[in-house]
Symmetry: C2
Subunit: 481 residues, 2 copies
């Protein structure tokens, strides 16, 4: 494998310079090597520093911290409660055969890059999986992709700027953008997500005072529509972004939950052979970052869907000039990704799993999610029939239903509110599509006939009951199986 910054055929080119698009704050937030107090760190072993105001690790009230791995019970689909897997911990000294820092470093202050051993693992991962096409890329830890996207907004947006998003997209990204006083430019989708021609049209016809500069995309298992872009779609979208010189925020929390095009089957048909076609990490679809020759993609990864959300650990990758400013901003906001989480994850990934073990864990998750998807989709086939139209989700955790309401019902003002109320009465809940639109309060959107179902959370045994209850509700509103 060539080292980072080199392709197999030699040295890679540099990224394009997008710093001309930085907003006023980000110009100031550029790293200033002379303004950084950490240059006063000790570098000689004879040095006695009375410099940095770091508390002594000898006063941390912990002798070690860590976790036990879970043992998953395939019978009950739950973590075994009575048995604990291997204990993985961090103490005052580096553990034997460990490449992870000891507690005195892990729990101390540090710069915005984050815990070095974990950053190293993620850089290797980015290098192996996304194979960046330019030389000057880097990766820093975030406290999750929510922070990552907020920081990307902070790089470019001035008050009143317009940002390109899907018609329906991740609600928290919408709220984040709203908090930056952004306006929204929405682009239509089809079964593969955003339509390149529609994006091109929107950009070509743009007459706003300030140019369109930022586009937010979820290429895999889009939230809420569940669509996944094919390779050609990704290439086309990237080219349109090049044409209009857009910066791409590639939010990819579901990238590891891909199903490789596997069909919906009954549980009895979920054989080892069936699962053997799962893509793991190595077989996932190429990311937008992997196609990025310009350094216009800022890629957001997270452990939220593959370990646990409240570990609050993600990583942002992209061209160094931009990621460095994100790092500077991290240093004056979240300060640095949490040490306890970073340490735990680093021990798990570096010392116990390695990239091969990570691959195995991802395949385990893909099995679980695929199996849940199959149960939900079989129930949808059985109980809903023609009541709703949908694209089969091949990734992630969402099924997007377009309700086939009779025209007279569909045109009733407040119809979706009524359907939600009826669902709650009937003890089932899906999220109305309007919740994923920036125009949530517009009448046309409020009554848009979409529901989002997730197969991440409910137990498999409950899913058919939930869908049967949904069918009862929809029947009341005139939907026909």
């Amino acid at each position: 494998m060539p080292s980072i910054g080199e392709s197999s055929t030699g040295k890679l080119p540099s990224s394009k310079d997008f710093t001309k698009y930085l907003n006023k704050k980000s110009i100031i937030r550029r790293p200033d090597p002379n303004g950084n107090i950490s240059k006063y760190g000790s570098n000689s072993s004879d040095m006695i520093s009375l410099g940095l105001g770091h508390p002594s690790p000898d006063l941390f009230p912990f002798s070690k911290f860590g976790f036990n791995l879970a043992e998953y019970d395939n019978e009950t689909d739950k973590i075994k409660e009575s048995t604990f897997g291997e204990e993985i911990s961090i103490g005052t000294k580096t553990a034997e055969n460990s490449s992870v820092e000891p507690m005195g470093i892990v729990l101390q202050y540090g710069d915005g890059v984050g815990l070095r051993s974990l950053v190293k693992f993620f850089k290797e991962h980015v290098d192996q999986v996304h194979k960046p096409k330019y030389e000057d890329w880097t990766t820093v830890l975030t406290v999750g992709s929510t922070e990552g996207f907020d920081k990307i907004c902070e790089l470019f947006l001035e008050i009143g700027d317009s940002v390109i998003i899907d018609e329906f997209t991740y609600i928290n990204a919408i709220i984040t953008l709203r908090g930056h006083c952004a306006n929204f430019v929405t682009v239509e989708k089809d079964d593969e997500g955003m339509i390149p021609e529609a994006l091109d049209r929107v950009c070509t016809n743009w007459t706003g005072e300030r140019p369109l500069r930022l586009i937010y995309l979820i290429p895999n298992g889009q939230n809420p529509t569940g669509t996944t872009m094919g390779i050609k779609r990704r290439q086309d979208i990237y080219q349109i972004c090049q044409k209009h010189d857009l910066i791409i925020a590639e939010d990819d929390p579901y990238c590891f939950l891909q199903f490789g095009g596997l069909p919906v089957v009954e549980p009895s048909e979920e054989t080892e052979e069936y699962f053997s076609k799962l893509p793991g990490v190595k077989g996932t679809l190429p990311s937008l970052m992997s196609m990025d020759v310009d350094g216009r993609v800022l890629r957001l990864d997270t452990v939220s869907k593959i370990l646990a959300p409240s570990l609050r650990t993600g990583w942002v990758s992209g061209q160094k000039k931009l990621v460095d400013i994100i790092q500077s901003h991290i240093e004056t906001s979240s300060s640095r990704a949490n040490g306890v989480s970073s340490g735990m994850i680093s021990r798990l990934f570096n010392d116990h799993w390695g990239h091969d073990g990570f691959e195995k864990h991802i395949i385990f998750l893909q099995k679980q999610y695929l199996s849940r998807r199959n149960v939900l989709l079989k129930a949808v086939e059985k109980y809903l029939g023609g009541m709703a139209t949908y694209t089969l989700p091949d990734c992630g955790m969402f099924l997007w239903l377009e309700l086939n309401l009779p025209p007279s019902v569909a045109s009733e003002p407040g119809i979706m509110d009524k359907i939600v109320d009826s669902m709650v009465e009937n003890n089932v809940l899906l999220i109305p599509g309007s919740q994923s639109s920036p125009a949530i309060d517009a009448e046309s959107v409020k009554d848009a006939p979409y529901l989002r179902a997730t197969f991440a959370r409910a137990e498999k045994k409950d899913m058919p009951i939930a869908i049967e209850r949904l069918a009862q509700v929809l029947e009341k509103y005139g939907c026909k199986r």
Copy 2:
């Protein structure tokens, strides 16, 4: 004890309304009960929700996580490496006699308030220690006071606004403000920190286009000057802030490291009786929040100096209308304080220490820091003599030295850079004062004859050596003992 929101003499008044001072972004970031997807959470036990996109806790790869308490070795001033204290963990079920949430909640997504059991503890703490004087206060978790202060800036500052700070103050607060494109208005200090009359003068004479609205203060053990405001000083400063309608960011990371006015003594004189006068939590000086009748103080607390920095856990307290917006902003940036840290701290504080155990831990830390201060100050007395002037630090971790350089040396351009170089050559390091000034690049500030020493980090045995080395350097530049 009266319940929260009531004083011992009855119901408290409401805070004043400062929402008129919010900036454009914060007006949008106000919580919108209808825009929050979490209203679609399940509330009936019969409900089957396919709503929120939360991963199943059964797929978290952990069966438990936690830590072992440290046993501190008073002989070596270090954590005992071979023995581990009690293990405190969180598993899939709530531990016996625990009031802390199980792993499935602790590691899951949640709102920006943070883990409820920990928020509850901090609210009790705020109620007991700061006894708010108005009814509508609240507390939310932050990922540390760095985030807390950034969020306060985000509440009020428009580009180009001016903020009031000490002449020398916490470098990271300066960098944070700079990143918000703020201008600085600095106010002189004396031995007790900011001078009220000077603050009044600055505000009265202010002719800027936009009014002064935000003031940043570190009342205890100020970084870098080590000053602590007396009670009268706090009252006077608060009154001037009322007069000019300023919002106060009270950054108080060192509040628990107060020494109660204890004199510098030799180690042999550090008797139990001597230490018995330490203030603990209960005897600390009243905070600005405790005097705040208007709700103009936003108070920042953190565990960084009392547990460990990279737990990235703090709490911000103040009037609900403002803290709610901070919470909304957290939900679109850091998302929520880290679950692993919150869970660990909640188990420690709620289940093991309680408020009494917390008090004991604080007294332990006060002993350690006081003892370190004493060693450093004895060395300063012995080796520096008249080479430098200082205020005895009665809190925190910093000693601020004003060097008594001969006038001909003091006026040499670049003199402080030379002194820093000489220190590094002589294997000792203190931070030059210019690093704590917003005018770091101005010639007058670059050569300001101040050095900050911290007694937090170096070992006690090394401190006299460090100060002796410093004396050798200063002697070279003509300082006289």
